[in-house]
Amino acid sequence: MSEKKALRDAYGKTLLALGKENDKVVALDADLSGSTRSNWFAEAFPHRFFNAGVAEADMIGTAVGLSTAGFIPFASTFAVFGTGRCYDQIRQSVCLSEANVKIVVTHAGVTVGEDGGSHQMLEDISLMRGLPHMRVIVPCDYAETVAAVRYVAGQEGPFYVRLSREKFPVLYADDACPFAFGKAHTLRQGKDVGIAACGIMVSQALEAAELLAKEGIEAEVLNVSTIKPLDEDAVEALARKTGAVLTAEEHSVYGGLGSAVCETLAERFPVPVRRVGVKEAFGFSGKPGELLKHFRLDPASLAEDAKALLKRKAR
């Protein structure tokens, strides 16, 4: 897990490739194309790129209009502006009409770092997951991002793909990513505790599993890159096998992966669950690593939480 690559680079590169393959692919941004990497598409296809300026609501509406003319619009900005700032536009203009709009955001979560709480989006999965027809993907690494972006380009209707600013550890080889929409993927087998994670927390969970293994605890790690629709069978299987499920996300514990897992397990196979995520807080300035540790999203904290969860597990 030593190599690290930026998910937004995967997005920029894949969007550019899609642009070359299909002249129906268009891209929009709201003055952050250099950061989201949509500028790589913009430089290659200036006539198919629409910079809305600092106007996210207009960007979403324009994307909807372009979709009705037969195009496949990818709209990008930071997660905080691409969801909260234009939630009603996504609800009314995109989802109510089931418009063929792909929203791919970067800079989600506390790993945005120095920009602080205003820019560290922690509620976006919750917002997007609640919308009818919206499908939500949170890739964990570079290769999975490539696969997810390629997948959504070929599907009709709205998608939300959540990416980050930071470079993430490479977990999948470029040519061997098992990404399948709606399917979770087991990255490590274990019988004592299950960890269901998304985004950067997948690699954190794998590191936590290493720490737990040193203490004789075998953790199973499930990469839940599709948050909606949730792979309920995989989540239930994880609970049945391990009897205790830790969820881990760089997001509020309200409405995100942890909530989705709890909803499923409460209905299908209740076991002790512990949700790791940000609890009733905004982020603040700092280095990504410092913030992950502060919010107990680092491997050591995850391992501690897993052990705390195990105490509640029926023996």
């Binding site: 268009v26 006539h47 198919r48 629409f50 809305a52 300026g53 106007a55 609501a57 207009d58 979403i60 509406g61 324009t62 994307a63 909807v64 209009g65 372009l66 979709s67 009705t68 003319a69 037969g70 195009f71 619009p73 009603d88 536009q89 609800r91 009314q92 203009s93 109510l96 009409s97 089931e98 418009a99």
Partner: protein, 281 residues
């Protein structure tokens, strides 16, 4: 009277009756802003726009977006008479299992290009549509009807800035400037004037007309069609509730249907106007 204008007026007055009847049947809906917009929409759907009701997704069609989605009775009245669905279906408006949702929804009814209802969003969508048609090499045009209360939504101005910047000349927005919003007089609640000058300042070609004067409407639409290098905004001065005496300039009928007695009076007035025009077209 010019025979074409007579024909259009006859259609508009017949649709005015439809608006009263369907909102009365629903005991719900927005007659005031539908009646103010119907002359404009009749000129679009029965004179200006390329349409094929038998094939609602026909690529050669011009597009219309009702950004002020609460004027759905006007849109449904027009779509029914153009032939998108049976006229009797108007009586299902706002009822359970109807395709005629309270505010227009694309997934329910052919002929509705995009769902609207949350104010301020239609012009962005219309602009994206116009950009898409241009990109696809299509000569088709996009029309968007905006309300004046709706101008208070910031997104409208984002779209006005964007289309002015991009010189999107296949886009024509029309302001139904009836000067009333639910809570009262637009100028008192949040003054938007001078509206035409503001649109001009954003780079739009502006025509400031009487929105019930058919000569003026058709002339402005023709000018918009021939305008290159900038989008057009037709600022249409209208009367809320136009054509029904007790609804005219009466904000109470923004979102309230006529009762039985009012319906009778209103239909009688409209029948009289129709008779003066020589009956229904």
């Amino acid at each position: 009277m010019d025979p074409e204008i007579r024909r259009l007026k006859q259609i508009a007055y017949a649709i005015r009756k439809d608006i009263l009847v369907m909102t009365h049947a629903a005991q719900s809906g927005h007659p005031g802003g539908s009646l103010s917009a119907i002359d404009l929409m009749t000129c679009l759907y029965f004179h200006d726009m390329a349409l094929n009701p038998k094939d609602p997704q026909w690529e050669g069609r011009d597009r219309f977006i009702l950004s002020k989605g609460h004027a759905s009775p006007a849109l449904y009245g027009v779509l029914a008479r153009v032939g998108y669905f049976p006229h009797e279906e108007l009586l299902t408006f706002r009822k359970f299992n109807s395709r005629l949702q309270g505010h227009p929804e694309r997934k329910f009814l052919p002929g509705v290009e995009i769902s609207t209802g949350s104010l301020g969003q239609g012009l962005s969508v219309a602009h994206g549509m116009a950009l898409g048609l241009k990109l696809a090499g299509s000569p088709q045009r996009v029309y968007c009807l905006v309300g004046d209360g709706e101008l208070q939504e910031g997104q409208t101005w984002e779209a006005i800035m964007a289309a002015g910047h991009r010189k999107t000349d296949n886009l024509c927005a029309i302001l139904d400037h009836n000067h009333l919003q639910i809570d009262g007089i637009v100028e008192e609640i949040k003054n938007e004037e001078p509206v035409p000058e503001k649109f001009e300042a954003f780079g739009w070609a502006v025509h400031h007309i009487d929105g019930h004067d058919y000569d003026a409407i058709l002339t402005a639409l023709e000018a918009a069609r021939n305008t290159k290098g900038q989008p057009t905004f037709i600022v249409a001065e209208t009367v809320k509730g136009k054509g029904v005496s007790f609804m005219e300039n009466n904000v109470d009928f923004h979102g309230k249907a006529a009762n039985d007695e009012e319906l009778k009076i209103g239909l009688a007035e409209l029948d009289l106007a129709l008779a003066q025009l020589g009956g229904e077209a």
